[in-house]
Symmetry: C2
Subunit: 179 residues, 2 copies
């Protein structure tokens, strides 16, 4: 059995989901959010995010941590603060010597729904179906953490053979052109 901790990083709300993979059927173990108070200093909030993620790792002992990559917000300041939160989450994963996967938001959406530009609702719908849940994980940030974990499960079980073949063909074609 493989256990994946998925994280959707944030300074205000960090969503997480723990997904177990036995064979090809993923099961939801736990999901939720780590909330911090916007009125507290940034260093204290980072400490809470780091302690929260470290506690999850100690309790579940996952093999892998899957972390959503930075979403480049229009407001650069927002993106930079998000970088601070991602920094302490990556650190928690590294300190526990987990395998670390980072996925851009579009890659997670594509792995779950088949479309990189899928809506939040489409992602939630597929997360609910894939894990055979009665309703989507709540709140939305928790569902995003679960989606990151599922992405790691799906890319692990379904090697991208067609893409591999395509790239091999393209490389061959380029090689022949050079001759």
């Amino acid at each position: 059995m493989k256990l994946v901790l998925g994280i959707d990083p944030g300074t205000a709300v960090t969503g997480f989901g723990v997904v177990a993979l036995e064979g090809r059927a993923p099961t939801l173990v736990e999901c939720g959010v780590i909330r911090t108070n916007a009125r507290d200093p940034l260093a204290q909030r980072l400490h809470e995010v780091h302690a929260g993620v470290s506690e999850l790792i100690a309790r579940h002992r996952p093999d892998t941590i899957a972390i959503e990559d930075v979403f480049y917000a229009k407001n650069v300041r927002t993106t930079v603060v998000l970088g601070h939160a991602r920094g302490v989450i990556l650190l928690a994963g590294q300190q526990a010597r987990l395998t670390i996967h980072e996925y851009p938001p579009a890659e997670i959406k594509k792995a779950i729904t088949g479309r990189g530009a899928a809506t939040k609702e489409q992602v939630q719908f597929m997360v609910t179906r894939l894990l055979r849940l009665k309703s989507a994980p709540q709140p939305a940030d928790a569902a995003d953490g679960v989606a990151a974990a599922l992405c790691a499960c799906m890319t692990a079980t379904l090697p991208k053979l067609p893409e591999l073949k395509l790239s091999t063909l393209l490389a061959k074609a380029a090689q022949e052109k050079r001759k």
Copy 2:
């Protein structure tokens, strides 16, 4: 005696300086850099930065950590990666329960040289004079860490009385205008 650890954050090179303040005379205790390898994964490099700063804190037991604020580079990606490094440095300070000061680059330059737009050479010249050194701390990133520490020392010893008075006068003027 007050001990300040100043940090100029970076993923490749993090500069640091430890400055002791007894009365009004600051003394350089130690300075240097924490280097990481660009070919290593980001999580590992963040781990090295965090471990390096934590080791400095354990060894010197400073009261205060002074961290240079994010420099908004033209390349947003660079700024965001820098945010990750700052995140783990702020975390190290918070875990050791230090007083944390964050200073924008211009504020450090102004505290050291009197000019927010001072050149790197002007800052290094003043750092050398203020600490009565024979030459500027090397490499340049170490000097930036020392400058951050000096900024915390100087703003602590020299309360900005003239500015305070000016703001009081302006507030009074605004109040009278409203009448």
